[in-house]
Amino acid sequence: MNTTILLFLLQDGITNGAVYALLGLALVLVFAVTRVILIPQGEFVTYGALSYAMLATGQVPGTVRLAVAMGFVAFALDLYAARKALHLRKIARSAALNIVFPIALFIATTRLAGPTTPIAVNIALALLIVAAIGVFLYRIAFQPIAHTSVLVLLIASVGCHLALQGLGLVFFGAEGLRGPALSKASVPAGPLVFTGQSLAVYGLTIAFIVGLWLFFGFTKMGKALRATAVNRLGARLVGIRTTLSGQIAFLLASVIGAISGILIVPITTLYYDTGFLIGLKGFIAAIIGGLVSYPLTAVAAILVGTVEAFSSFYASNFKEVIVFTLILPVLVLRSLAAPAVEEEKD
């Protein structure tokens, strides 16, 4: 085997793995706080990536209309939930989040979109759009059934995935898109060349991991999110709104998803349905990490990315088979190491 190829594959694997790590972290986060296994995570990726790519060509992506529509539904649900006691302040707050914000975003997007819009503005718009969709998605689809079983939440999650993926086709069409690179710089290192894009991938992944660690370890809201994950009733009894925790978790997940998308869309062509597979690879990392451990998830994601890179080189036909069956040995190890006593809660 050629060392250059080896290094090249490794580099490729680590770049992909870093993205899977971000997605895996988001999945772990959402699951811990809300018990939702977030299948639509993949749609956050495609929505972020393709909205960014469309903005880069000067078009207004359909996702911003979706954000407005979902905002209206969310507002209607808030009104319905508060029908017995209409507190003006609560309604005003809900209107600000669900009506004013998406409409402002819509206006900003239509005004700002153009072939000469700076990359930073496009990124900001794409992130805001996906963040809004993420928060509204929690409000509409999950908040009303937050008390049900993991299975019901999972099925609802799949329903959301189907609807969002279908909408993705409407918004972006069946053609794949690519976005402009964040940076044209490149740094040669021996036989390899690190592009600005791949350095951005590494940098942002590390920044997010450190950021999440600081957020959960040292901020009041971060601790409140952890508390919700540990004991929902306990959290409510000290006045932490589980709906707020859920919205924050979805906000973080959608932003992480969108950023992942924006990071990879300059490297690979994305289609409206690519997100599902990318999200699933994040899953594999999350499962290997046991859905609880952030560092283990990150390491597992790098492993998944590397295996994928190597198998696409040596057995490209069976790349997906290999990546997805990678989970089996891990599951075997997990079941061998599984503790003898495991109290099941529901």
């Binding site: 017995k84 009041k220 601790k223 540990v230 004991n231 009733l233 306990g234 959290a235 009894l237 000290v238």
Partner: protein
């Protein structure tokens, strides 16, 4: 004394089973009120419903405001606090984090003062402040649960079976502290199976059976009622026949 908590004609159902039927009670400022009765009588259900954990039918008001539209989190903010039967601590977080989260709804400055007060009340918690809540002993967990509830500076603290599963010797300690809360300006609504201990510190008491209040009055009257003695103080009065 003005009524802090008023509950009138409350019904609570699980599906088709009505667990609480037409119960009314009130708690005044600076008062310790206890509800005694066997497990399954509906005491825990009633406390949880007052807190907003389950829905109820009937009127409840706290410090003069109707509680119907408020959810749990709003009731916490209004100054109502519940220490639930299973304590519901954040087991994988340390004692101090648990206490800090207890002050989630109040300002940082007030929280610091609250923390001092809780540590004075429960010096054991201060010793263990970096220990994970899940590794504390039963008695310490109960103290932490009470401490966490007090961190939010509640006007009314509702305690659900604080003595459950604790050594009689620790129970005595917990009840002593509950008695001291009055001096700190906190009213207490105490649900207990350990009727003897509860009646000792309470001002007034309600006796609950099968979802209804069958007796109420001053703690002294209730303690001397022969029916209560036979049914709830049980083995303490040997030789008496049960009802």
């Amino acid at each position: 004394m003005s009524a802090l908590l008023t509950v009138s004609d409350v019904h609570i159902s699980y599906g088709k089973v009505e667990a609480v039927r037409g119960v009314s009670l009130d708690v005044a400022d600076n008062e310790i009120v206890t509800i005694i009765g066997a497990n399954g009588a509906g005491k825990t259900t009633l406390l949880n419903a007052i807190m907003g954990v389950f829905p109820l039918k009937g009127r409840t008001s706290f410090a003069g405001t109707d509680m119907a539209p408020l959810d749990i989190e709003d009731r916490v903010a209004a100054g109502l606090s519940l220490v639930p039967e299973h304590r519901e601590l954040f087991g994988t977080m340390n004692v101090e984090d648990n206490l800090e989260l207890g002050a989630f709804r109040i300002s940082k400055a007030t929280a610091a003062a609250s923390l001092e007060r809780v540590y004075t009340l429960f010096p054991r918690l201060k010793e263990r402040r970096k220990q994970l809540a899940g590794t504390l002993s039963g008695g310490e967990q109960q103290m932490l649960a009470m401490g966490r509830a007090l961190m939010g500076a509640p006007k009314l603290l509702m305690l659900d079976e604080p003595s459950l599963g604790l050594a009689p010797i620790i129970v005595a300690d917990i009840f002593r502290i509950v008695g001291e809360l009055r001096a700190a300006g906190v009213s207490v609504l105490l649900v207990e199976q350990n009727a003897q201990a509860a009646l000792k510190i309470a001002d007034r008491a309600y006796v609950m059976e099968l979802g209804e209040f069958v007796l109420s009055g001053s703690a002294k009257e209730i303690a001397s009622n022969s029916r209560v003695a036979a049914s709830y103080l049980g083995f303490q009065h040997e030789g008496e026949s049960a009802i």
